[in-house]
Structures are given as structure tokens and as C-alpha cells.
Symmetry: C2
Subunit: 378 residues, 2 copies
């Protein structure tokens, strides 16, 4: 019997209490009992998103809500700017191109954050751009993009700002209304520590104005239909009832912690992990690292995939490797989900052990010691 640890960027570890709550008898999605839960969940999502906008819950992975953002805001032949600095930035481009939207890509080197002045320049040159698509946190590289600054840039323009916060919401501060974020997308399997299958997104008044004129075809992801359903305290199609009940539990816990403690929790895990990794003589890949995951450069001569494989096969620990051009070059440790300081100690010790086994010189305990010291001080 091997004990299993999941410290991947998603799906993440779930709290057993939440898993058991989701194991309660199935509730009917159109019952008054479920409507009450759904309405409470939506209120709590507004609290988490820091928004007065309606927040919708779709039965899909996060990509479904990304698609919903594109098809509800735009029409064929519209132009959009995409910040493309990783696999998920590429997804925005692919989504837009699928629907005949002209894309102006800002190709940001993987591992770096977008320069807001590049976006400003493109907007000045292309005043007809309908929307800017960006990741709050690019999960493939571990980079945080400057979403607050992009919000300021777009606030007084007609262009909408669409933020993929799938691996950011619930991890660190995202001020939807104060920063002027028009659509913010989130997913169940990241900070919420829930199984995959739910996507949540908020929609601003500015975004609704575009949505009412948008002509891209949409049915399952039609947010106008969801808005009508929301007024009746339901969803347009069968709600994923069990996952929503789990989401309700997690949100209550988050509210009890409060925004500040919630964000501090992730920040401390991330900074202790980075301290440990650095103390081992390894490098952090992301230039502007997030509190969601720590992305580590595989040292020279070591294949990052081998580190991931050894943790999984020999130690029962799931972390993630690199995707696409980063395959073999990095490995990624999550701070999201039902994890605490002791899990980070485990992750660091396991990395030390794996590197040692793979022939990379390691002083056992050095990374762990640095993390312990960080935790002790915070």
C-alpha cells in the first residue's frame, strides 16, 4: 500500500471532509433545496472574486469557460489581442482562431510576464480590438501576468479584459471589480481542491454589452441563457450538483479564513518552497513567480520528466513536468488544494532524494532546512 500525495498544478488534493460531503445522497438540480445551495455558492463566489458581477457555474473543465468567454463576447471578423506566454496563452489564440476571430498575438517568452506597454501600444495601433485575453497565472510556466495594470489600461476603453484565473482565483488577490476585469474564469480543480468538472466565471456590465451584440454561435456555453437561469436560481442545463455542493463547503472554509489569511497561506507555502529549492542550488524558472505553483529548472544533465517519474513511481507523490517546449526542462510543485507546510517539506525532501538517485549532487536536508527556517519565521 503506497500512500498517495498529489501536489500537481491540478487536479489538486481535496480535503477528505469535502469529498465525503460530495458523497451525500444526490439532490435534484431543480429542487428548492438545491436552489438555495446554488444561490449561496454564487454569493460566496462573488465574495471570493471581489465582485458585484454575477458569477456563473458551468459543468465543464476550465477550457469550457474560456470558450464561453470567446463565443459570448465576439463576432466573426472581430479582432482580439492575446497575451501568449505559455500553453494556456496559446489556448486563447486557438479558441479565437477556431471561431474566425482575428488575433494579434503578443508573444511573451515562456517564463516572462507581459510588458503592459506592449499591450498599450497595440491597443493604440488597433483601436477596434474588442477584447484582450490573458492569464492571471500561466500554469505552464508559473508566471503571474500584471492583471491589475492591464485592468487600469482598459478601464476607460471599450475593449474588454478577459482573465483566465483558473490557477489564480483563491490563491492570491484578484480584485475583479476594483481592477476592472470584465470576465474572470476559474476552475474547481485548482485552489478549491475539488475534483475537475466545474468552471466558474464572472461577467461585467461592459462584457454583457458586447455579449448582447456578439454573433458567434453558442448553445451549451450561452451565457445569456445562463443569466436567465440565474434569475430563477438555477442553471441553464443540469447542474453538476455534487461538485457544487463540494464548492459550497470549500467556499465556507475560505470565508472563515478570510481573504488575507487565504492568500497568506499560499504565499507562505510558495516562498518556503522557493527558499528550499534555492538552498538546494536549483533555479526558479518563472521571472515573476506565482503563489500557485513553484516551477523549478531541472539542473544540467537531469531530465525533469525523470524527477516527476521517480516521485510518482517510487515515492507516491504526483507533481508535474513541463509541457510542450518545456518538457524535460522543468518540474512543477503545486501550492494549491488541501496542502499545508508539511506537504511542502515532503515535496522538498522527495526532490532531494530524487536528484540524489538521479546522480545530481545533493546535501540531504539542505532544502528542507531552508523551508523549515522560513516557516518558523512566518
Amino acid at each position: 500500500m503506497q500512500k498517495r500525495y498529489i501536489m500537481a498544478p491540478g487536479p489538486t488534493a481535496a480535503a477528505p471532509e469535502v469529498l465525503l460531503k460530495m458523497a451525500e445522497p444526490i439532490m435534484h438540480h431543480r429542487s428548492p433545496q438545491f436552489s438555495e445551495i446554488l444561490t449561496k455558492v454564487r454569493e460566496n463566489l462573488k465574495w471570493l472574486f471581489k465582485t458585484e458581477n454575477d458569477v456563473f457555474i458551468l459543468a465543464s473543465s476550465g477550457t469550457g469557460a474560456m470558450e464561453a468567454s470567446v463565443v459570448n463576447l465576439l463576432s466573426q471578423g472581430d479582432t482580439a489581442i492575446v497575451v501568449r506566454g505559455g500553453k494556456f496563452g496559446e489556448r486563447w489564440t486557438e479558441l479565437c482562431e477556431t471561431y474566425g476571430v482575428n488575433v494579434i498575438n503578443i508573444d511573451v517568452p515562456w517564463g516572462e510576464a507581459v510588458d503592459v506597454s506592449d499591450v498599450a501600444k497595440l491597443l493604440d495601433e488597433n483601436p477596434d480590438v474588442k477584447a484582450v485575453f490573458v492569464q492571471a497565472h500561466e500554469t505552464s510556466t508559473g508566471v503571474k501576468h500584471p492583471v491589475e495594470e492591464l485592468g487600469s489600461l482598459l478601464k476607460d476603453r471599450e475593449t474588454c479584459l478577459v482573465v483566465d484565473a483558473i490557477s489564480a482565483m483563491g490563491v492570491y488577490d484578484i480584485q475583479t471589480d476594483a481592477w476592472g476585469l470584465d470576465i474572470v474564469v476559474s476552475g474547481s480543480q485548482k485552489a478549491f481542491g475539488l475534483p475537475p468538472g466545474l468552471a466558474m466565471l464572472s461577467v461585467s456590465e461592459k462584457a454583457w454589452k458586447l455579449a448582447e451584440k456578439a454573433t458567434l454561435p453558442r448553445y451549451y456555453f450561452n451565457l445569456l441563457k445562463e443569466r436567465k437561469a440565474l434569475a430563477k436560481q438555477t442553471t441553464a442545463f443540469t447542474s453538476a450538483v455534487s461538485l457544487i455542493i463540494g464548492l459550497g463547503e470549500v467556499l465556507e472554509d475560505m470565508k472563515k479564513m478570510g481573504h488575507d489569511n487565504l492568500f497568506a497561506h499560499h504565499r507562505i507555502l510558495a516562498e518556503a518552497t522557493r527558499a528550499g529549492i534555492t538552498a538546494m542550488g536549483l533555479e526558479i524558472f518563472a521571472k515573476v513567480p506565482s503563489e500557485s505553483i513553484t516551477v523549478v529548472k531541472a539542473p544540467d544533465g537531469i531530465d525533469g520528466q525523470e524527477v516527476v517519474k521517480m516521485l510518482r513511481e517510487e515515492f507516491g507523490i504526483t507533481i508535474a513536468g513541463g509541457q510542450a517546449q518545456l518538457k524535460g526542462k522543468i518540474f512543477r510543485i503545486s501550492h494549491m488544494g488541501h496542502l499545508d507546510q508539511w506537504d511542502m517539506i515532503v515535496a522538498l525532501a522527495a526532490v532531494e532524494r530524487a536528484l540524489n538517485k538521479l546522480g545530481h549532487p545533493v546535501d540531504f536536508g539542505k532544502g528542507v532546512a531552508a523551508a523549515e527556517a522560513y516557516f518558523a519565521a512566518h
Copy 2:
């Protein structure tokens, strides 16, 4: 503490063992352990669907897989025939129209099954029809459409047959390959007795040929992308891991029962319930009733919604009322999910009690007696 019973047409009752299985620690969707489970689930789905075609699993409600069928098979300006005999028939029409597909509707009176010769006639008049869309079981009316006969009709034509079997698959016999069904759509929250959030669909070679030429835009529901992912024993986007693990459990149970016992189980529940309803002096609404649900006409002077409300509020039992034009005129009792003969006894007794309380003359125990007699004999 009110004990809760769910006998709605979906979501349906889940087995506690399955709910607890889904409460096991989260597994990573790209891990070899999960790939193994996914591959086994797909094999078992092929067994259930009676097909050699690949069966795909999407993280969405059933409507998502209906949309996938439309957008993967068709191009703008194509023509399709829709059998429209209820709320879900209407959904096919809405989906096609959303994407600029010309629809020839066959308007079947709600409660009746389509006449295959009407479809044959339309196909002869419109040889360019790319696909026929139909429900195996129209959940809003409780009617079974003649899917086998439609299969025979289309077998030697180029036109594809797309079957919404969301509330049919796993309930009664659907022979995907033998009957020549090109796409068959299913959902987790019906016969499988799982929470909502998964859709499954099979795709024939004939359907792939259309899919390769189809130009409707699709991203999250792109089956060509899913086919590539399937070859790597994964899904294109994050798999809904917990639901798929639950599906694996249910399919193992179904396989242990075997097709015949599985279908007999639902047939006996349905026939006993109909015997009970008829013995109470009530009428069955559907002309060709399914083994999935029993749809009962509300007796004169009784609002079907009141029956549903009383069962829910006073007795803790969730059944369903009528939708759209049938609202108040019917009520619907499910035979799908984790239900047995005693649940049907409970449902019938509760209907007797509700009708009595609503002022309709009822002989207590008469419906129950007829069901008991039916169960005793089978």
C-alpha cells in the same frame, strides 16, 4: 430529519458504495494509474453500447455531447432532419439552428413516437440530408422512438443517424453497431446513477467521415482532438476524474449483471409501476412507454405540479412534473438509478397518499397491490 428519496428522471439515486468510491483521494488525470482506469471504462462503455466504435467521455452535461454531435458532423448550410416530439427533440432543433444548419422538423405530437415512414419520405424528398437527429427516449414525454427501424432505414444511405440515448443507455437494449447508430449520446446522471457532469458518446466510421469534412467551429467539443487524446489513453482536456472513477464502478456492476438482467431489472420496475398506476385508475401518458420512466397523466382537476410538490415537501420524495406544454398535466416517476422494487412500492404509496390529500378519490393500497402482484409473478 427527513429521509430523502430521489425518483426523478435525472439526476437519479446513486449507490452509497459508488459515492464513497468517488470520495477517494483525487488522482491526476495524466497519470498512468488514471489512464488505466480510463481505458477500462471506455472498454466497458463499448460493452454497454454494444459497439466497436470508440466511446468518448466529455466533462459536461448530456447537452454538451448533443452539441458535440451537431458541431462535429455538420457544416453551415447543411440540412438535417430532427424528430421533434418533446423538449429534447426541440433541443436538437435549437442546436442545429444555432449553428446555421437548415432543419426539417418532424413534429410528432408529444406523447407519441415518430412514424418511420415519415422519416423515409422526407429522406427521399431531401437526399442531401446529412443527419437525422432523434431521441431513443424522449425524457419529457416518456416515449421510446423506433431507433432500430431508423437505423435500418439509414444503414445504406450516407445520412448519419444521431441518437440521444441520455435516458435510454443502460436502461434498455440499444444495439449501436447492429442497428447502425452513428452517434449515440449518453449521460452520467440517468441509468448510471452518478452525479451529473459526464457525457459519453460513440462515433461510427460513417460519422468520422462526415466529421473530417465538417466545418462548424468547435474547440472544447472537438471530437477529432478527443480521438487523438484517446490514442494516448487520455482526454483532450482535464478529465472529470472522480466521476469517471464512479462510472468505472457502475460499469463493473452492470457487467456483472449482464445486459439481459440489467434490462430486465428496468423492465420489471417499469411494468410493475404501470400496473400500479393503472390499478389506481390513472392513465399512462406515453403511447410507447419506456422502461426509463413512467409518465402519468394527472387526473382531471388535479395539478400534476401539486402532486410533485406534495411528494417533495411532505414525504421527502423527489419525482418530476411536466415541462413546457405538459406542465401541470403529468408527473414522472423514474426507474433509473439505484432503485429497486421497494422504491416503486414507496412511489406508488406516496402517489396514493398525495392524490387522497389533494381530494382525488383513492383506494389506499390498490396501486401498491397491483405492483406487488406483478413483482411476485416476475
